[in-house]
């Protein structure tokens, strides 16, 4: 396309993404149909024979790996691979889509965009689809001199509801924290805050202190996964999802299930924490009951501290700069 208007290039990228997602979904559907056709075309006798052969193969494997309910966990434990989702908040909101969700980065200088692109590659672009670098809002910093030497991040996507809003807010803070400290390290304009949408009171601005450069450790995903599984078991929880946002260091998203039949949102609290080491980038911790409904969640980011805790069916982030650490 022969135009120098960035907006048109961004719009084209969005349309390409939609087209790719549609093609992928159509491919998956036709694969499922082909599979179903294949199943139908196998005669009943062959199907019985196949089932018997499968049972014969699976029984020794199950015996080797442990009980059927824990065998897969033991395998994960041994290989050190992260547990991949059943369903997390992003997926419950948007469905599972496997195409690459690159976050759009707008505004700022080339160096700022480069740094921010590196950071947003480590977060989930489904919840944070777009971020713009600009000067701070006039209401926050009216001085034109200071506005030129400082930066602000704008997350102009629609506000999410429920736990997805918590996860989106958590990811924006991960991005903002890593960008603030990265900017300081590279001598770029100082990031002093961000504006993002909230479900009930619209776009809100939050100022950040620092740069603080807390001692974030690079971390090892496999080792941290094993640690988290052990901690969750000690807490009497069954791990369901452990994945990592990685704006710079690691920030686990942990979803676990409780067998407490009386658990409900606002009445259930965990005994202990799956992660107590605040040298990681942060933690998003969600607990579901046996029906898959959220009964508890907690979000924390280490660089830009802000607590976010449960209670209520439409939870609201509390932008406290003090926050608390797990």
């Amino acid at each position: 396309m022969d135009t120098n208007i960035e907006y048109l290039h961004d719009l084209r990228a969005e349309l390409s993404r939609l087209a790719a997602a549609e093609v992928e979904s159509a491919t998956a559907t036709s694969a499922r149909r082909a599979q179903a056709f294949g199943r139908d075309s196998v005669s009943r006798r062959w199907r019985v024979a196949l089932a018997l052969a499968l049972v014969a193969a699976v029984v020794p494997v199950a015996a080797f790996a442990g009980t059927p309910s824990t065998g897969w966990l033991h395998n994960i434990f041994r290989s050190g691979e992260p547990i991949t989702p059943p369903r997390d908040a992003a997926e419950r909101t948007f469905g599972r889509v496997t195409t690459n969700h690159a976050t759009l980065v707008r505004g700022g200088s080339e160096a700022q965009r480069g740094l921010l692109r590196k950071i947003v590659r480590g977060v989930d672009g489904r919840l944070v689809p777009i971020v713009r670098i600009g000067p701070p809002p006039l209401s926050v910093l009216p001085s034109s001199g200071k506005r030129r030497t400082t930066a602000w991040l704008y997350f102009p996507f629609p506000a999410r509801e429920g736990v997805a809003s918590q996860l989106a807010a958590w990811e924006t803070r991960l991005v903002a924290g890593a960008f603030r400290d990265g900017s300081a390290n590279e001598g770029l304009p100082r990031l002093i805050g961000a504006t993002q949408p909230y479900p009930h009171f619209g776009p809100s601005s939050e100022g950040f202190l620092g740069p603080a450069n807390p001692p974030i450790i690079p971390g090892n995903a496999a080792r941290l996964t094993r640690l988290l599984i052990r901690r969750l078991h000690k807490m009497g929880l069954t791990p369901m999802t452990i994945r990592f946002a990685q704006p710079d260091g690691l920030a686990p998203v942990v979803i676990a299930r409780t067998n407490d039949r009386n658990a409900r949102l606002g009445s259930w609290k965990p005994e202990g924490w799956p992660l107590t080491d605040s040298r990681y980038e942060g933690l998003f911790f969600e607990v579901l009951n046996s029906r898959g409904a959220p009964v508890y969640f907690y979000a924390h980011t280490t660089r830009v501290q802000g607590g976010a805790s449960s209670i209520g069916h439409a939870p609201i982030i509390m932008p406290s700069r003090g926050g608390s650490k797990p």
Binding site: L11, E14, P158
Partner: protein, 187 residues
């Protein structure tokens, strides 16, 4: 402008590659179409995004036998423009449906899109159209739009009722809008 080599599905509809080819050939033309009619780059950008997403949603219904894809796209665009002019706000149903959040225009884009308007040409058209108006309508438009008088004051100066003043301004503006839009077609 004839739309080049669009791939269509058998039995009609545009496939993904065909749709992106349509975008490549028409995006800037459509943006220019909107900005010349709204004189507002941000509104024009929003209308462009909404039009393409509406077209994306309904591309299976495009029938190449009934005309070229560009004409079909501009049919959707005119509908969007009409809605905007009636409601004074851009629809966002398609953007919401596809969860597409376009950022506001950057200052550089704002200027680039404004450059598409070609104010000299628009000014000439408006001057010509104003000159061609009935003298009562012209005076009513000048009092109301340029001098920003209330309808009450316009009526007093023209020596007519307030309803008649409103009607003259309205007819005059409609004629101006037609003169600005008509000769440029899709551009």
């Amino acid at each position: 402008m004839k739309t080049p080599n669009l791939r269509t599905n058998l039995g009609g509809g545009l496939d993904a590659a065909g749709f992106l080819a349509l975008y490549d050939s028409e995006a800037e033309v459509l943006l220019r179409f909107f900005v010349r009619r709204t004189l507002d780059p941000q509104v024009a950008a929003d209308l462009t995004a909404e039009t393409f997403l509406q077209a994306f949603a309904s591309r299976a219904r495009f029938d190449p036998g009934r005309g070229e894809a560009g004409a079909w796209l501009f049919g959707i665009a005119r509908h969007q423009l009409g809605s905007y002019l009636r409601a004074a706000r851009v629809e966002q149903a398609a953007r919401e449906r596809f969860r597409v959040a376009m950022a506001d225009l950057s200052p550089a884009d704002y200027e680039r899109i404004e450059a598409l308007i070609d104010f000299a040409e628009v000014g000439r058209l408006v001057r010509d159209a104003l000159g061609a108006l009935d003298p009562d309508q012209r005076q009513a438009v000048v009092y109301r739009v340029i001098d920003a008088l209330s309808y009450d004051a316009v009526a007093t100066r023209l020596g007519c009722s307030e309803e008649a003043a409103r009607a003259r301004v309205s007819r005059g503006l409609r004629a101006l809008a037609k003169a600005v839009a008509a000769p440029t077609g899709r551009t």
